[in-house]
């Protein structure tokens, strides 16, 4: 895949290292001359020093043949403008952007950002999980349907322990996907009994996650 990475700083650098090591072709567009030198040397990829939201610079970077453009500039505004410009120059490019202010997610998606990555909310959720419940973790988030994939271990004394899946009374908006018992992966059906120590994987609306968390531990 051909990817253009726009931005300065650690995120742009590490993303480029990661993408090139997986065999993707990357061009970095950055105002930081040191970053450009670093990635050229370490990742053997091309780098252009300049404003990513300058049409001429994006043209030089080969926007017309890029499959994905990633905006990880310092401000939300820069990322919106570079993603919009990318779509104007190549309507089929997929745009991914770092968005720092959570309220910008929706409106940026409406305008030009196919996949907004909300840095603040990602960190908040990660920290919240460490603080509130060590035995439940978010495994992923489905952007389009806004559903979380959650994994958790059923503790002794959980209201879910020793019940059959049919009798679970899971909150609405929560779907049990599978159960991991030791080395065994179980596809649950109504008659499957849950035991303490089982790890369950579920699909949940984000607002239902706390309820599921408390059911697992109580």
């Amino acid at each position: 895949m051909y990817v253009i990475v726009c931005g300065t700083g650690q995120i742009a650098y590490n993303l480029t290292v990661d993408l090139t090591s997986r065999g993707h072709e990357v061009t970095v567009v950055s105002l930081d001359p040191e970053l450009c030198e670093h990635v050229k040397e370490r990742c053997k990829c091309s780098a252009i020093e300049g404003f990513s939201y300058d049409p001429k610079v994006l043209g030089d970077a080969g926007i017309e043949r890029a499959e994905t453009l990633v905006g990880c500039e310092l401000t939300d505004e820069e990322n919106l403008v570079v993603c919009h410009l990318a779509k104007v120059l190549n309507p089929s490019v997929r745009t991914v952007a770092l968005v720092r202010s959570p309220e910008n997610d929706e409106v940026y998606r409406e305008i030009a950002v196919d996949i907004p990555v909300n840095a603040t909310m990602t960190l908040v959720l990660a920290i919240e999980q460490k603080v509130t419940a060590a035995n439940v973790i978010a495994l992923g988030h489905l952007q389009r349907t806004n559903m979380d994939i959650i994994g958790g271990v059923i503790s002794e004394g959980s209201s879910l322990a020793d019940k059959s899946v049919g009798d679970l009374n899971l909150p609405p908006g929560v779907l049990l996907i599978s159960i991991v018992r030791g080395e065994e992966l179980i596809v649950p059906h109504g008659g499957t009994f849950l035991r303490p120590g089982d790890e369950i994987i579920a699909l949940a609306e984000p607002s239902k996650a706390p309820e599921l968390t408390s059911q697992l531990s109580l």
Partner: protein, 135 residues
């Protein structure tokens, strides 16, 4: 008719004031409340301290009923981002955007914006003066 001006620098302050003189109801947005001293009659223009690309600030400024929106800060990305939000989210009918680079005027005009490029305007004005001197 309601207008929103983003940026209360020299250009924003003059533009806001001229719009008031033409009978528009004007709200000016600038993150620095100290910038509002540039308005010649602050009593007749409402200033809101805030970022003109943020939904909440724009809603407070009345972007939903706004007829004219002008993004004229000295930052290209802020102007373009504000203009995009005004046009695509709030559906403001007339959106004006200031860009510094004359080469980008055409691109944003094609996107449906009214583009102001002070460098380009000044060069054209200067050229007109030179031409008239020669006649």
């Amino acid at each position: 008719m309601k207008a929103i001006v983003v940026g209360c620098g020299r250009l924003g302050a003059i533009l806001a004031w001229r719009m008031v003189e033409q009978g528009l109801e004007v709200v000016v947005l600038d993150p620095d409340p100290g910038a509002f001293h540039r308005l010649s009659d602050p009593a007749r223009v409402r200033g809101i301290a805030g970022n003109g690309t943020h939904l909440q600030v724009l809603r407070e400024a009345g972007a939903e009923e706004c007829a004219v929106f002008a993004a004229v800060t000295n930052s290209n990305p802020i102007n373009i981002a504000a203009a995009l939000v005004a046009r695509k989210h709030f559906k403001v009918p007339k959106v004006l955007v200031r860009v510094s680079d004359p080469e980008r005027v055409g691109l944003y005009e094609q996107e449906g914006f009214h583009v102001v490029c002070p460098t380009d305007s000044a060069a054209k004005a200067a050229l007109a003066l030179v031409a008239s001197e020669q006649v």
